[in-house]
């Protein structure tokens, strides 16, 4: 029984990591209307920044392996380094494509992520390229001798970081800063006419999204204890998009739920061989069932965009109450069109 709980805890940690990523993308797209198709680059920036931060320096006694850079910082500092690095990459990305919108922005960010990926793969002095870096020291690993209890401890750590990320994203969304972003998302020209420097606001939202992706990268590296350029491929971006669309564009709690649903869908396909009639179909071609997983994810993308554009928990209208910082919400808004 505890075997299932253990795997469940590990999958839940994975879901929390995708949750933080979904919060980041929701800040960029759900809040500020920036369709970022290169989101995995920010995730990678956070992961590698954390790795280099926590690795023991090459000249230190604990040095193991052949990597060339290591600062041996504590994990707390590493989280900040990850957030800052990913935020910096997001700043660069945001600056370059402030002038574009809709699917052109999607295209440029996708191409930029590919360029960043080949940079990471080729600069082996930073990332050890195709060799990858392992083992990477995990937070508080020495406090626990039992490998299984560490998984539960790590789940707790991931939950704390997710909570911080949620509060960060939610406060940004509910504050006047978030209100301006939502206005810019609705109609940038009108927002400018009402005195808001749209470009600067969009950039800040892009950087906040990057910071969240950086945090996710840090939690990711900690959970696996290894990092490799091959982990950061376009499929990750599209998985995060599915989580945001499934959960509810513009609703932070919705996207967290979307991330959980995404990971549950994906991991449940690992148990497909139990299904009788599928088993004999799979007998002929061993990669029959595993590729079924990608068919399911593809279908989920298609069906969500078509039939549930609002997602599970749609964005709420912010209503007027007696003068108070934020208004509560009740009726959901009509479909948040996934439009350019």
């Amino acid at each position: 029984m505890t075997g299932w709980l253990l795997f469940g805890a590990f999958v839940l940690t994975n879901a929390l990591i995708y949750g933080i990523l979904a919060l980041g993308l929701n800040t960029q797209y759900g809040l500020a209307g920036q369709a970022n198709f290169g989101f995995v680059a920010l995730f990678a920036a956070g992961a590698f920044a954390t790795t280099l931060a926590v690795l023991p320096p090459p000249d230190s006694p604990e040095y193991v392996g052949t990597y060339e850079i290591g600062f041996g910082l504590p994990w707390g500092a590493a989280l900040l380094v990850a957030a800052a690095t990913a935020g910096g990459v997001a700043l660069l990305m945001g600056l370059v494509c402030l002038r574009l919108g809709g699917h052109y922005l999607a295209m440029v960010t996708f191409a930029m992520a590919q360029v960043f990926a080949s940079f990471l793969a080729n600069e082996e002095w930073i990332t050890k390229g195709q060799f990858g870096i392992s083992p990477v020291p995990q937070p508080l690993r020495d406090q626990v001798d039992e490998a299984s209890t560490y998984i539960y401890l790590y789940l707790g750590l991931a939950a704390v970081v997710t909570l911080v990320a949620y509060i960060l994203a939610e406060r940004a969304g509910r504050s006047p800063f978030g209100r301006v972003l939502r206005g810019i998302r609705e109609d940038e020209v009108a927002a400018r006419t009402l005195g808001k420097a749209a470009g600067a606001f969009k950039l800040k939202a892009f950087v906040l999204g990057g910071v969240l992706a950086g945090l996710a990268g840090a939690v990711w590296v900690g959970s696996i204890g290894a990092v490799h350029v091959g982990q950061f491929i376009p499929v990750v971006t599209f998985n995060v998009w599915l989580a945001v669309l499934l959960g509810g564009v513009g609703n932070n709690r919705g996207v967290l739920l979307g991330a959980l649903l995404l990971v549950l869908i994906r991991e449940s396909t690992r148990f497909l061989e139990g299904v009788p009639f599928l088993a004999d179909l799979a007998a002929s071609n061993a990669s029959f069932l595993p590729s079924l997983r990608y068919v399911i994810i593809g279908l989920a993308l298609i069906l969500v965009v078509r039939f549930a554009p609002q997602g599970v928990l749609p964005e709420r209208l912010r209503k007027r109450v007696q003068p108070d910082l934020t208004a509560d919400e009740s009726a959901p808004v009509e479909p948040v069109q996934v439009k350019a």
Binding site: A35, C97, L100, G101, F110, M112, Q114, F238, R306, A340
Partner: protein, 294 residues
């Protein structure tokens, strides 16, 4: 000096393989106005159809023709089934649906044929040789086919009724509807024609590479996008020009800069084009509105 000439020849050869697919993409993107991420999978479907038919004993030319036809049919069905219902939902919804379709087709090909690479049933042709410079025969044929394809699409757009209505639908869909044009049929026609070209592109890509794997089309997609956008959306000549420039860029990048970054170079070109001149070399600004606020 020969090395320089040889790199030019290889740049054109690589460009030739890209150009056919780019012409098909620029046609469908031009008329429908959204980036179709499942376009690459049509190339894969055509390549594997050719492989399957020749395995079943069919002669290569006939198998290739059927494969090209399959490209057209699959594109048409995907468009009618998945893209048409979302016509009014904006390009981003269509873009994400395209990604979903790409996942589905790619995995179905893998489920059907397995993951191991399959050979393309075409014997290797010995290259021509002029002095020290080798000119790969197959790629020259592909270049000729690409030019024929481009001229055909250009003629289609310029001189046929269907072509003119396509351009009308492209520039202003509402106006086209008002003037009684059955845009649904025209858009369907566009998908079919661009699918046929994509089928041809897939067959040529697999023949040029000599083998194929389920990720054949997806790996090639971004380079084709770069070419189509560089040339200007909706412009067959532009797509051709863009393809050759990207081909030369990749080969010169690999030869003189560094092989590792040659692919990144092509994407760099795409980024610069989209930022500086979203309508590409020959594109009309109106057609490709970057629309900062769109």
């Amino acid at each position: 000096m020969d090395y320089f000439l040889q790199t030019i020849v290889y740049g054109l050869a690589t460009g030739a393989v890209i150009s056919v697919a780019a012409v098909g993409l620029t046609l469908s993107f031009g008329v429908t106005g959204f980036i179709n991420f499942s376009y690459g999978e049509i190339l894969t479907v055509a390549a594997y159809t050719t492989y399957a038919l020749t395995q079943a004993g069919m002669a290569l030319p006939l198998a290739a023709l059927i494969a090209i036809f399959m490209g057209g049919v699959v594109t048409f069905l995907v468009a009618r089934g998945f893209f048409e219902p979302l016509r009014d939902r904006g390009p981003l919804a269509l873009l994400i649906t395209g990604v979903g379709v790409a996942f589905v087709i790619q995995s179905l090909v893998q489920m059907a044929f397995g993951g191991s690479p399959k050979p393309f049933p075409l014997p290797l042709m010995t290259p021509w040789q002029i002095g020290e410079v080798y000119i790969p025969k197959l790629q020259v044929i592909i270049l000729v086919l690409a030019i024929v394809c481009m001229i055909a699409v250009h003629a289609l757009l310029r001189y046929t009724l269907m072509g003119r209505t396509m351009r009308a639908a492209a520039s202003n869909d509402a106006l086209a509807k008002l003037s009684g044009l059955n845009t649904r049929r025209i858009i369907g026609g566009t998908w079919l024609v661009s699918g046929l070209i994509a089928g041809l592109g897939g067959v040529l890509l697999a023949s040029s590479q000599g083998n194929m794997s389920p990720t054949l089309g997806f790996n090639f997609l971004l380079v084709v996008f770069a070419a189509a956008m560089l040339g200007g959306i909706g412009q067959p000549y532009g797509a051709m020009l863009g393809a050759l420039v990207i081909g030369l860029g990749i080969e010169f990048g690999a030869a003189y800069v560094s092989a590792d970054y040659s692919q990144a170079l092509a994407f760099g070109v795409l980024i610069v084009v989209l930022l500086v001149r979203p309508s590409g070399f020959l594109g009309k600004p109106s057609l490709a509105t970057a629309g900062g606020a769109s």
